[in-house]
Symmetry: C2
Subunit: 332 residues, 2 copies
């Protein structure tokens, strides 16, 4: 598949750039290793790829946005490290999480260190391109505002764990912050650095946010039905942590009283047995919540794709359209 | 005292500005409250005052650097929240720490949220003043590099807790990052925004770093000999946490074997009794480590003050000189 190949190339280029921001001689060594750990574990590099494809889609070159693309992966990785602490997750990208290896204090600092580098990388990009002050500030505002929205989304995510029923609107507000904001910023930054016009940049930003929401809904589904090795983390841990994913929100809405009780037996119960988790997943499947979520994800993908109409036809645009489909259909 | 009065005025202006960056309608409410908690508990507002005085000392006005001054307090507060989690501290500025009230996950996010706002506040300042791209990028690079140095210092601080002997040079590398970097950035940003020349900005940056180190050494001393209410946190907790402060580093260097053992009995021992802590402080006092540290702090203050020779005489310069003295002599 063509998308695969092009994404792989872009991801490789991003990887080279990321290496520059945490060189092996960073001191103390433990900070360098902890900060690089998840970066080196790979991942899809979806956000930087979104930046680079968006840059190309408005007529820019990959090199126009390379530091910013790396910055968005640094930002994403920072949020993963902190989220894993909060969720007490032990695996991510098929490796142990940072706090599991180095303990919470170093994991907190490693996340902070990645966050600090985000803005240095953005400044480097702006300087190299000789951006106007106005454009450089757009860049910084876009990324800092998205960072704040991520915090809002993450706070909602934590709050919902302690709430019995969460509505679909609340769920959407949460993923909008947690995943939508960064994907929006990723696409927008690419549009900005590629020299896109205001309408193109707005379209890319909207596209990014919608793809992000679809991506998160698919993530919720894979967390229940995926293949552990492909997915990179244990199946069912969302249930144990009490995450109000769209499938859970929907299942609780439509399930009968006895099925709801089965769900609540496992939901947010750290000591839930494998059988109780399996029973909860069974209930979710029975309610049709998975098909419901799949349909929702596809709707978001369709709106995302429609946003791109304002862009001229190009290879990059085709790949962005394919990327949107991938968000809702992926198996990993 | 004149410094007091002027600092109070500046601190008040900074307080007003800080309110803008976490308005009460920020959602979710818990995030707003947790992020504002330490900001509202007061504190000396030393870093923003350093920014504003530095701005004035090169001929600028307070208003030229007000958002940046707030940004540096946001950055400082973010580091305090995360440090308190790592150190398991329960009190700060005479109030309970953020994680003690809202739990670790919300405290981690509150810190991240403050950090996110730092760059938005800087961008607002740059935009309002119509800075050139070059100057705006200087601003961002200064603050993001300092943020990274703080992480390096904090990582060393955590590592030293697990080390038996730490040399003075290692201690200095740690406080240079932990406290020096942000004070340097605070003064430098003020110089930049006030329109200072390169030599003036360099002098202010050096001054800030040296004052920062002196300030941290004084903090170490107050942590052992201060008045709990004035200082805002329990006396002796540094010992219990195993912090390698300059007084501890020095005491371990010059104490005899039996005194060293008394120190190690309390150092980093979470279950150390009040009597064991008192005995450790007694040993430290006996070694003359406190006078040694006081002298070191004064040396840093003297070098800091000498850096300001390149600045024209002004009220602000006088206050910066007084501020340097305060760093090494304060009781709170």
């Amino acid at each position: 598949m063509e998308l695969d190949e092009h994404l792989r190339e872009l991801a490789e280029r991003v990887g080279e750039e990321l290496d520059k921001w945490f060189p092996p001689d960073t001191r103390p060594e433990i900070l360098a290793r902890a900060s690089r750990h998840l970066l080196e574990a790979g991942g899809k590099r979806l956000r930087p790829c979104l930046t680079l494809l968006s840059c190309e889609a408005v007529g820019g070159k990959v090199e126009d946005a390379i530091e910013a693309a790396a910055a968005l992966e640094l930002l994403h990785t920072f949020t993963l490290i902190h989220d894993d602490i909060m969720d007490r997750d032990e695996f991510r990208r098929n490796v142990k999480t940072v706090h599991t290896i180095w303990g919470e204090p170093i994991a907190i600092i490693a996340g902070d260190a990645l966050f600090a580098k985000v803005f240095e990388a953005l400044a480097a990009n702006a300087r190299r391109l000789g951006l106007t002050a106005d454009k450089a500030l757009d860049l910084f505002e876009t990324v800092s505002r998205a960072s704040f929205e991520i915090c809002q989304g993450q706070a909602l995510d934590m709050l919902f764990e302690g709430k019995r029923d969460v509505g679909e609107a609340e769920y959407l507000a949460m993923v909008n912050g947690k995943t939508g904001a960064l994907m929006e910023a990723s696409a927008k930054v690419g549009g900005l650095l590629g020299g896109g016009g205001p309408e193109q940049i707005r379209a890319l930003a909207d596209y990014g946010r919608l793809v992000g929401i679809a991506f998160q809904i698919r993530d919720d589904i894979l967390g229940l039905t995926g293949n552990r090795d492909k997915f990179g983390k244990p199946i069912g841990s969302d249930i144990r942590e009490g995450k109000r994913t769209l499938v859970v929100v929907r299942a609780l809405e439509v399930a009968g009283p006895s099925d709801r009780e089965k769900l609540f037996l496992a939901l947010g119960n750290e000591r839930a047995t494998t059988a109780e988790i399996a029973a909860a997943i069974e209930v979710i499947k029975r309610t049709g919540a998975i098909e419901y979520a799949e349909k929702k994800a596809e709707e978001f993908v369709a709106s995302a794709k429609s946003k791109l109409k304002v862009l001229p036809n190009s290879k990059a645009k085709e790949l962005l359209l394919e990327l949107a489909d991938f968000a809702a259909k992926r198996e990993f």
